[in-house]
Symmetry: C2
Subunit: 224 residues, 2 copies
């Protein structure tokens, strides 16, 4: 059994640009990737964890497979290569921006006897998909990929299970999503946000995040 995580570092998470510099967004993206790769590794379910990346990065306990292709093309090529090399082993495709994923989530997904297991993301996304026979499936991300993947499974006569998980549904795209990491996260991404000075902030009964102003060296000197 193997797992694959698609990843794009360059200008990662552009919608977080209001509160994070480009370098910080890339570092947060790597921290979230480390949380996901760590859960896959610690689950003990996979003999290979590949990261399909558009640039060279370093992540513990995962292989980097470079690609210059788009998400769908890169993943479908990956699935086809497995089939053409007669590697008929199950594969879990999992997104890099779901840092709340737990080791038990991973174990539970691959335990399902269904041909296809889909963990929905919010707003119609597919945050993880477990494919028992890669030669009988192809992916179609973007838009309402959840419905598209359900339909591909149906058309190919494959049994389907929907995996109901808040952890897996929580992809980090917008500034508001950072609150989920601060509330529920315990891994690299949560540590990184705290290091940057992010804290929870309530505004009119609703929870958000704000970035604390750090006292700079200059101000400290002035106070002395």
């Amino acid at each position: 059994m193997r797992a694959v995580i698609p990843f794009k570092k360059n200008n990662a998470k552009s919608r977080l640009g209001a509160l994070l510099l480009e370098k910080e967004r890339e570092e947060l993206a790597i921290a979230m990737l480390e949380d996901v790769a760590g859960a896959l590794h610690s689950s003990g379910c996979f003999h290979i964890v590949d990261i399909l990346s558009t640039s060279i990065i370093e992540v513990n306990s995962a292989n980097i497979v470079l690609t210059d292709k788009g998400l769908n093309e890169a993943l479908n090529e990956y699935l086809q290569k497995m089939s053409s090399h007669s590697i008929n082993e199950p594969v879990l495709i999992i997104m890099a921006d779901i840092p709340l994923v737990s080791i038990n989530n991973i174990k539970d997904i691959v335990k399902s006897p269904a041909d296809i297991v889909i963990a929905p993301g919010r707003m119609g996304g597919t945050n993880a998909i477990f494919i028992r026979d890669p030669s009988r499936f192809h992916v179609d991300y973007y838009g309402s990929s959840f419905l598209k993947h359900c339909e591909i499974a149906r058309r190919n006569g494959l049994t389907l299970r929907i995996f109901d998980s808040f952890n897996l549904s929580t992809d980090i795209d917008e500034v508001a999503d950072l609150a989920e990491i601060l509330i529920h996260g315990t891994g690299h991404a949560a540590q990184y946000l705290k290091k940057l000075g992010f804290i929870l902030a309530e505004n009119g009964g609703r929870v958000g995040v704000k970035r604390e102003q750090r006292t700079s060296c200059l101000n400290k000197n002035k106070n002395v």
Copy 2:
């Protein structure tokens, strides 16, 4: 074992005002409430399902308990009444705006041996909380109620389980949330939105909803 759903019909779901009239928002709120009450009833876990409501409504298979109090005051009074009448039975408090909740979700929550089981909502909310001994807990909603409820459990020496569910985390507050009902819903709320002409709409790779323009009688007559 009993369940209680707090509910407010008047001017319900005001943040959906951009696409729904006040009457439609109230009807959608009732449809979602029916989905939640239906799952509770069909689970067979409860001998009483109470709806703590600020106005008279009619919902199958649930008792209406009228209250003019705010959410926290009404629920804590409910818990205290149970304790003072020596009704030491477990209670599930569940929100009325989570129409994706399934019968299995309900069965799984109450199966947990923990003293307190919390199903988080998005952005720090508490969408369901199972309290094994009502005399040893009080609720504190609004803001980051998830963290507050975890802390109350800890302070009272109660064991705690976090219930990881996308279905339960999906509360319907904003227009964008309506897409979740159309994508994943199968109950009253999904039927009601479809009846109003809501469909999924993709915009720049992201999924949203739009309301189809119905041909009015006037236009039909004009065309004849």
